[in-house]
Symmetry: C2
């Protein structure tokens, strides 16, 4: 089953796979709409557990726990894209799982994802799939340098990536990513990084949030700004791309499409996140509806809201020890502080964020 | 203890007495700031239980349960004013309780409350305390008709009240309120009902939300509108009154002051609610900080935010079966739907609310 037969009633229970800050913010949005949430995750202690009544702490491969979970929820969704395909496959015959797990098969594999995107006539950086060190050398001859080598699967926030400069030995990069099936991508000289966060409901309606400009530090999102400083036609084209992808996936829920904007306005898709996304956190304070509420509406079979932006918005991630400076934001006029309730501070760990809304 | 020695750190646990929608929305606001919540209430099943990890379901007089609760939280606050005084008195030596329970002694007794207000030089409707049917007759001679008879304690949403018209027999009204210590209030011919929702932090800072105009149906709040349609000087005076009350209580947290506005702009205080208040629900969507977040900030020893209103705002309560019409609001542009997760619909029960924000 991929779509609930009818819209859920308030009081229904939404099952969420994953217990990080995205699950936490999904659960808070679900609560506003009168839903209960049940979090399923292997973690012992994690942000989403604190804001729901029902939790299952079990491995994603624990079939008894999954069967019980399916019995006790009305729909299942997920907060991150690395849910094992087997988990989704086990659940899908028992309870509606949204977005459809087949999306994961595409987005969990960088090559399948890029093939899917280019198959829609949408641009990406030149890329090549490879499975051996020799194939890497051949791919480098074709793609050229500089380039980036990435594992096909399970990479995020720069993990599983190796930059290949003019003089980097191919073998070094190959070992750096763990000598496993990978994708080589041409290094693209871009002006800006942008993303579209889009929601699609089961009836095929798509609502996009305004194009967001993103600044990364050490491969981790640091700042998002809305609206992105691009021409109207580029912004419209970016939204059209996200909409095309959402339709082609027959997607239900929120997804994010990250893109590069080249000097001449050309858009290249970098990657698709089949879930709510860090670059959409600004919507909690800067729009009339948040990405989290849109996702819950979609998976509940409810109509989407038409997002109205409340001004110029800036979202700043609090990463690692930066969170210790949260107090200075508490008294900044118009700033909203969000802390994820993570006990341990680790370098690179997303601990919270701050949104600032300015009159347009 | 009434004030925490130092500001709480994120990850601390806030104990909340009461498990209704106010407790639920307080817990959601606390989660945004990285706090955990522990709900203590006698109810078996109630809105706030669904959004927290720790709950104690026990009677307010259960000293063992209260002692355990005090052990496991860093501060205690409450979502409604009818917490038994003994409960607060039992907790206060064990854990900081905010706002200070002494406020309850005043606001739980309509006569003590009115005496407190008039003692500050702030106007109220003429009133008289009475404890017998004979005293009621004497009070009626003094106050005149029409008038309203209210029990001194435990009234809300029009419960424990009897209207006394020109020809109502005093004895009938006396029996209607249960023949118990009461207050007789002159019926005031007012133009509007307004309220101020104000937050005060332990350091004495007060931040008021903009004056709100309220429309009641059957003694239950139906619609709030902000800003209230009164002169600037009346609005300023209303905020000054709330600020005076907050200071005189040495209050920490959010309180609401309900007032009548007479034809000539005179303000008379109707009642004080020592808690977040239904007429402040618009702040969830219509202000840069909500009343719930301000309350959590105050009881956590954090600085208050300066509220910035986002436009003209209207809040509509969904009462009883009205909640069944929630779907029509889901697609109204700029409308935010809030459902409280209550399983049973009963006449007069607050089931949810809708906020609409319009550009000023």
């Amino acid at each position: 089953m991929s779509v609930p037969a009818t819209a859920l009633e308030p009081g229904a229970t939404i099952g969420i796979l994953g217990s990080g800050q995205l699950g936490r913010m999904l659960a808070l949005a679900a609560a506003q709409l009168g839903f209960k949430c049940h979090i399923f995750a292997p973690d012992r202690d994690s942000p989403a557990f604190d804001v729901v009544r029902e939790t299952t702490r079990a491995a994603y491969g624990d079939e008894q726990a999954l069967a019980d979970f399916a019995e006790n929820v009305d729909v299942v969704t997920y907060e991150f894209e690395n849910i094992p395909a087997e988990t989704a496959a086990f659940l899908a015959p028992r309870v509606p799982v949204l977005p459809d797990p087949k999306v994961l098969a595409t987005t969990q594999d960088r090559v399948a994802e890029k093939d899917f995107i280019t198959g829609l006539g949408i641009g990406t950086a030149p890329y090549a799939a490879l499975a051996t060190s020799a194939e890497l050398s051949a791919a480098l001859d074709r793609i050229g340098r500089p380039a980036v080598l990435k594992t096909r699967r399970f990479g995020y926030d720069g993990k599983g990536q190796a930059a290949i400069a003019k003089d980097t030995a191919a073998e070094t990069a190959w070992q750096e990513v763990g000598a496993q099936p990978s994708i080589l991508e041409a290094f693209v000289r871009f002006d800006r990084e942008v993303s579209v966060v889009a929601a699609r409901s089961a009836d095929g309606t798509v609502e996009c949030f305004d194009l967001t400009e993103n600044e990364h530090h050490d491969h981790i999102l640091k700042v998002s700004r809305v609206p992105a400083a691009v021409s109207d036609s580029t912004a419209r084209e970016a939204l059209r791309i996200a909409e095309t992808i959402a339709h082609r996936f027959d997607y239900v829920g929120v997804l994010a499409v990250e893109m590069f904007v080249l000097r001449d306005g050309t858009l290249l898709v970098n990657e698709i996140a089949p879930r709510v996304h860090n670059s959409g956190h600004w919507t909690l304070d800067g729009a009339s509806v948040s990405q989290f509420e849109q996702h819950i509406r979609a998976v509940a079979g409810w109509p989407l809201a038409k997002p109205i932006r409340k001004g110029r918005v800036e979202m700043i991630n609090l990463i690692g020890h930066e969170v210790e400076g949260y107090r200075k934001w508490l008294t900044v006029p118009g700033a909203a502080v969000h802390l994820y309730g993570k006990a341990a501070i680790r370098p690179g760990r997303k601990m919270g964020h701050v949104t600032r809304v300015f009159a347009d």
